[in-house]
Amino acid sequence: MTYKIERYLHFPYLSIYGTELRDGLNRTVIAEFHANLSEVSDSHGISIWFPTYGVSEEYREIEAMKESGWALFLQDYYISAPTGRPDLNVSLVENDMDGDGANESFTVHALGSGEMGIEVLSGRDIVKRANGYGDMDMVFSGNSGYYSVLVCSYDNGNISNFKVIEGIVETFSFISGTVTDSSGRPIDATLVFHFPSGNITIRAKGGRYVLAVKEPTTAPYGSEVPVDVEYQGIVMRKNITLSSRYINEDFKINYGNPAIFYLIAAFLIITSFFGAVFLYDRDEKRKRMERLKSKPTIRKVKKIKRVIKVKTFIDREKELTELNTALRRAEDGVGSVIFLTGEDGVGKKTLMNRFRKEANISFISYDATGSEKRPYEAIIKVLEALNSLGLVSIDIKYLYSLPSKEQAFSEAFNAFAEASSKSPLIIYLSSSQWLDKPSIEFLEYLARGIDETRIVLVISAPQEELEDVGGKPHPLNELLISLMMEGKVRMIKLERFDMDKTRAMLSAILDSEIPDDILEKIYEETQGLPILVEEIANSIRRSGRKIYEMGPEDVEVAKSVREMMGKRLEKLDEEERRLVEWAAILGLKFSSDIIEALSGMGERMHVVLHRLIEDKILVEKEDILKFDHPQLRKIVCEWIGERAKEMHEKAAELVESMHPDDVFSLAYHFCYADKRDKCLKYALKAAKRAEESYSPKDAVDYYKMAEKSADEASLPEIYLSLARNFKKLMEIEKAEEYAKKAAEYGGNTGNAAHLLLGHLYLESSRWEEALREYEKAVNSSDAEQVIDAYRGMGKVYWRLGQHEKAAEYIEKAIDLAENSKNVDMLGISTIDLANVYSDWGKYEKAKELYKYAIKYLESVSNISEISRAYNNLGEVYRYMGDLDNAIEAYKKCVEYAESTKDINLIGYGLENLGTVHVYKGRFEEAMDYLSKAYRIFSKTGDKYMISGIYMAYGIMYGMQRKWEKAEENFKKSVELLEEIGIKYDLGITLYEYGKMLKEKGDERSEEVLRRALKIFKEIKADRHIKNVESLLSEGGSEEKNGG
């Protein structure tokens, strides 16, 4: 909805309001048609919610809109259906709407008062515009397409109302008629229209059908379209010509008359074009079977029906409707995420293929295998596809070169948004249970902002494969849960077929009606799982036997897909087996050049490969080969058994000579070949590359591979790297375990491990252990490590409120940085020292130090740290009550952060700007900054920063004496901080919350403040203890002056 409103604001008179509205819309979470809400009495128009935080379902958010003043601008405007407001009368007169798709013409007649405007839009483009007074007409001619008309009137230069009508010039051909049996009785037949852009299936209920065909997406005007009419297993094909806008076509299906059957069968043998008509009559079925057996010519009929044979898509109308709804939303500018699930073989890919054909728009799919060689493979492949389609132009290497994951995500997100800016885009990720964690992290980022794009993201995986991993939820489950709680994902679950659908599938593949006893047997064995039904039907077809010649005992039903896959493999000859074994060694996916070299078959390999593709063992797509089903590879690997080691060795050597840069494959093959030296070498390289692409999970996997082949000399570094990557993964216990192992080796690696342990303990508020580790780390001969250790010790004392000692240690770090001429560290350590003075209340000194730090950092162009220094300088000004200078400093922070696209720092600056504006009482600007910050942090999932935003809203509503909203926000902040376990900030939020309650005169304030006090005592935050105690003892003054 938000997009729609924005899209209509093109008039020059609207430009000023448009800018303001766009800004407003950035804060808008939801705009909603009241017509959909039974509980709202006035079911016209829309409500636009200006929430103070995140998505909420509470109507009182509208109050916030009133406060903001936006209501004044919006209250007069309705977006309505054509029968909307009476004071602006719009009508359309068709001039030449003959439905031929060319130069369709109509007149827009607008009756209002004073100055008016009419605008015709195609998508977001204005295709015609006119201004006038009072009663005005505008004639519009255009080719078929989707247009909308905006009409508005002005009152003293301001818009007084506007109205939008959509989709009025779309041209349709209407095809309608009746379907009857041979006696003229109407029947509920199914009609399948085979348009070039895809098939459309409709039901003729009570014999009547009507189809509105959108031009020109379905078929060119005047073209012929084949239609299959199906009733009770009987299928008749007929071609109809799209000769006019209104076509009447009746179908008579010869049901129940055996004599006609033979006539038509004979006709089909002669023509061989129009498909076959089968008679089906339950009472006479057996008799007819007998006759058929004695009439061999009938077999020719079966050959004719190739069209029907390949069509195994069976009724998934509900699911297709759901997907099409998502697509329509995307067309309106609101993308969405769909989780498509159902067990393996239930037809997820088949459904998506059908959706793709029907949608006929950009469709990108990626099938994860779990053997991806690099992190983010899925995302990169999709981006490459977007590049190749010309939808975007993004340099993948540039993404990797960005200094932080957030920046890379932000750039990649923009590329996705751009790719869908012109028309909707469907991205289908199948077998997503195999996606690597980094790719899932990006999907979360994309999903959080997807409603700003026109993307339909379909993530598909069988639920049963989303088991917990190592006691933790499967990463995809984590993503789904988090999106689900925010209402950002919709699930489509495919169920197995019932008996009727099973019959329909068998019938479609075997071109024959299915005897009940055979159907029952197949259903019993397959339980309606489409892949098994299909496999059995195809095996019957391949055997050349006729279904009506078979009894239930002849149906060979495998117990599982595995058995079926095994059966497929059993048929392989010696050459095929050899090739398929090499394929299994190479992984689920591989390129043909490697397998050609490995097989040693030369040119003949292509012949064998072709056979394997024909036998559905392998599939080829864009030069990449893969197994048709993962189970196939698993079975082949079992055959190979102990020979695998030798084969991996050969593969490793070949990859080394052909693709020496493919360190991921090299690590994989050399490690499986048990070649320790090379396994170590390539696993380390692969791990480093994974680290460079912010994939700690993959880095851990490769370092663990390396660990198994490592000698004593390489172990300490590997342990240290594992500790660092586990820390990044927030797996603190494992990080500690490996850091301790590395520390045992002593030397500089040992010192680095002590330093890391110090950081781990500091972040866990384990002060004494942190100090002990830092003290060990200062023995390092690496000056930078020593500086870092002194900084760490300073931070411990700072957090303990021992400012003098904190300053003493940080000054040591500064001295060392000066002596070693390490200007970077000098600047960074100076910021640390300034932080201590700021917290100490020595604001002038802190200000001076931040300015020095900025100078140092400017000399080495460390933009990120300069941005941080400005942010902290802003904090000092804020504490001093100099809010104007604080705003200037925060703005500088945002400016620098924007130049490096560091979205976290941008978010910090915006959040602080929001908070300062709260203190200044400039609530509208505050909300603007805070909502922008919220958008950033909700995408990055930074709960810590989101908690700060809620706290700021809490303070703001408290200042406005809107107690209920204030309390609601404080509670959300507290809940988040409790969840992530950050005590210091929890104490601060409780303090502000308690203060608000006290001001309200709420007796719960004491309880909340005592909780804050308890926390501050636990973490020994003396200054804050004083603040809380003074508030508890009434009339207390605050040390911090926020304005």
Binding site: E322, T341, Q463, E464, L466, E467, D468, P473, H474, N477, L480, I481, M484, M485, G487, V489, R490, M491, I492, K493
Partner: protein, 75 residues
């Protein structure tokens, strides 16, 4: 030990939602301040309503209602 009702709710949700089911129950109970292991007749309605609310947007009104009714019948 989880109550019989808790066990049955977990089982319904696992059947409908696979591994996600468990997390949905836990999260909804947490928001309601109810121990997911101790769902009883008294708090069953609240849990059923909360699950229904979250399921509507995820898998549609039809499925949400089906689950809701099944849970309500555990009383």
């Amino acid at each position: 030990m989880p109550t019989e009702i808790s066990k049955k709710i977990y089982s319904i949700m696992a059947r409908e939602m696979g591994h996600l089911g468990k997390f949905i129950v836990e999260k909804q109970c947490k928001d309601l301040g109810i121990d997911p292991e101790e769902i009883d007749e008294e708090n069953l309605d609240k849990v059923a309503d909360a699950i229904r609310n979250v399921m509507v947007s995820f898998s549609g009104e039809e499925k949400a209602k089906k689950i809701w009714m099944e849970i309500k019948r555990l009383k």
